[in-house]
Symmetry: none
Subunit: 244 residues, 2 copies
């Protein structure tokens, strides 16, 4: 696992201090890629103070207008969630999440770890962009974790995993597929929605609920780029046939 | 291991925000005993803000004039140190430290985890009060860890250790799906082959090779029974549309 290829993505952060504290602990743990999606706070003096010298991370942070844009090159995306039980996604603890990210990025492919708003976390639509979720095992009596503390736990778990994995273990080398990116995945879903509309399937079923189920199935499979291409080829053939 | 019997001891803390953030993450991780040795910062508004509701921990914090006083009832003391190699002490990583604390407090004896000054850590005399040290494995290029971040890592490590002791496999429990049977899977493949024949897709592609790829994708996803049913519903809708 290459820590340089893992992005920390903060969505709509409202406290600049949290952005700064995130940059600092990223530098501590050897992470370097910070993305800000529609930030509600600036990289201001408070952020610089809390970053305590990790200015290189703040200065190279990239800002995006939407989460899918920020994730477009990621082959594997883990979202943080306070909810411990969500039947729709695989939910890992921090070490499990670090393991699964390591497994998905064996050849240094980009991955992303997404953190939601201080107040309300990630929306369902944002969770839909993720392959899996991570839930930090907090005390149910006081579950509200500071954003930078959540980043700290996850960055630490990733660092432990990266240090463990210095000598690549053999079983891990079996995969030769090129994993599909989040961008390819969104194209496939769009194509699928069009096709299901063509055949009238979405009219008879709860559209959103169905697509969420399909996204979940997809997230479990972690398809390769080629597999996505095959699926799109099939959809194209179906649509062509229908329109004849 | 009983988290209630482990004290977090902050020595000569200079930033009240760090005291507040420490209280918050202690509450998140199920720790409750906070001790302040010769604090240089007060439990002020900044501390309250950063504690974000963990006032019970701030209000019950005990203040001491010296570290030995704060540690008087502890059977085992671990000090945090940025230095990775110190010949005089055993130095653990965070999980190792949590393990050794668990081992020393099997019957719920009090233990303590000591954190030094933001600027300079613990003095040699203070380190002498400890049974062992813990060093968080930070990047040597940017080793300066925020005090509350260090508390976060250690509190998380302790919590993981305490949960392990209770229920070994908890985090894995999120999935409650009924996996599809091999029979359901074969029906799905047969249905898919028919549909692909209908749309002429298999004529233009190597039939066997394609189906092998689809089977492989399926095996990665480990679909539930419901997911297979949805896929078959979609195929049925497609075939119906084509035959109209």
């Amino acid at each position: 696992m290459n820590l340089d290829s893992i992005s920390v993505v903060l969505v709509s952060t409202t406290h600049s201090g949290n952005i700064g504290a995130t940059a600092r602990v990223m530098a501590n743990m050897g992470l370097s890629r910070l993305s800000l999606v529609t930030p509600r706070a600036a990289i201001d003096e408070e952020a610089r103070t809390r970053a305590s010298g990790a200015d290189h991370i703040l200065d190279s942070a990239r800002v995006f207008d939407s989460l899918p844009e920020a994730l477009s090159d990621a082959v594997y995306v883990v979202g943080t969630s306070a909810r411990q039980r969500m039947s729709r996604w695989r939910v890992f603890d921090p070490q499990g999440a670090a393991d699964t990210i390591a497994g998905a990025t064996i050849s240094g492919e980009p991955a992303a770890l997404v953190f939601g708003r201080e107040s309300s976390g990630l929306s369902n639509a944002e969770l839909d962009c993720c392959n899996a979720l991570v839930s930090i095992p907090v005390d149910s009596a006081f579950p509200s974790l500071n954003l930078a503390a959540a980043v700290t736990v996850m960055a630490y778990a990733l660092r432990c995993r990266a240090m463990e994995a210095k000598e690549p273990n053999e079983a891990a080398g079996a995969r030769v597929e090129i994993p599909a990116t989040a961008g390819e995945r969104e194209h496939l879903f769009a194509h699928l929605v069009e096709t299901l509309d063509d055949v009238g399937f979405l009219r008879s079923h709860g559209r959103e609920k169905l697509m969420r189920k399909i996204r979940y199935l997809y997230s479990k499979a972690q398809p390769s780029s080629e597999e996505v291409a095959i699926a799109r080829g099939i959809l194209a053939a179906i649509r062509q046939k229908i329109r004849k």
